[in-house]
Symmetry: C2
Subunit: 200 residues, 2 copies
Amino acid sequence: MAANNNRTTRRRRPAPSEADLIAAVTARAGYMMGDQADQWPPTQAAAWEGFLELSRRLRRDAEALVEERHQLSISMLGIMGRLARAPKHTLRQTDLADAMGLSLSRISRIIDILEQHQLVTRHTCPTDARATNVKLTRAGHRRTTTAQTTLHAYVRQAFLDQLTDQETTTLATLLTRLITRWPTGTEGTAAACDDLRDRP
Amino acid sequence: MAANNNRTTRRRRPAPSEADLIAAVTARAGYMMGDQADQWPPTQAAAWEGFLELSRRLRRDAEALVEERHQLSISMLGIMGRLARAPKHTLRQTDLADAMGLSLSRISRIIDILEQHQLVTRHTCPTDARATNVKLTRAGHRRTTTAQTTLHAYVRQAFLDQLTDQETTTLATLLTRLITRWPTGTEGTAAACDDLRDRP
DNA sequence: CAAGATTGAGGACTCAATCTTT
DNA sequence: AAAGATTGAGTCCTCAATCTTG
């Protein structure tokens, strides 16, 4: 039901020089002729506006691709990926929300769908009946692996391969720092609510 | 209709060291214990997942703030800001869509709303009756200026101030490069459709 | 036919309210 | 009272179809 990657004509341009790029930065941000120019140094404006714009474009295309090939959304795959790495392939919904930067509300509804498709199961936490543990099924795990391959390939080609190692490192460090310091941040690598008595 | 910034308890943590951050990078990305670990070097995974997560958080909070104080969405303000810097405060809808990384469809609907609120006006392009020029009104310009002040303050505090100059520059350069090379990229700093005969 | 704009349908996401358990 | 989960209502955004003009 999705996909069709020809948004428009898709003509490629000759690769611009770094010098042109700096010019482009300020042109896009355009705060040289603006009214209160000095408020926003061009690189700062470009960092913000570029951030918003790129995230929209990247997300949109990744979404269409993964949906087309695996009937999953990026967020679904993000959730499943986190479950796949978690001990016992299990995590509480609240922790998933925090780890993904999504509302608990959204997580709950996504889990509804994944559950319907038998990709995950829900289990009330044995030690705290308020919490719900989500566990990846075998089928869910398989789907995760194959879908991740598709996504990773896309992300590399459209994003990571365009970055120098230096840039990738800077980016990863900076992103993690900002996220970790987020006001709502609940600390620590929260594991599943948990039990220890086997077979939840 | 909007706003309420107390998502949860909002406790602050002690600032983590850079070393901890690297650990956090890999923990969040978590591709050390993953099944096909080597496919995604931790910094690469962190760059991608962090990018998605941060953009969601940043956007959500900025959205709530600007909506509460100025009854505008981030995209509305983005459009108005671009109009404010454009010659004659005018741009075609198609160009706005390209500049923002939004679908033309979305732009059209946002313009509907801005038009209703008398913040912009629509004018059929005199030289090409297919195109629609959008022009910022006086009231629109005033609103843009004040709202930008709010947004800029937020963006600085939550984003830019957390970055070193070095990081900001790297980020701006990298974002611009990726966006500029986007497959759909239509080239050039497209101005309004235009006329030259005054008073469109 | 292609490009610009608009509209209908639908997905992703959020907040606010509610219910349950601690 | 507070935390976890769920649901209703509403926003933001996209695609596909359609209409108009070049």
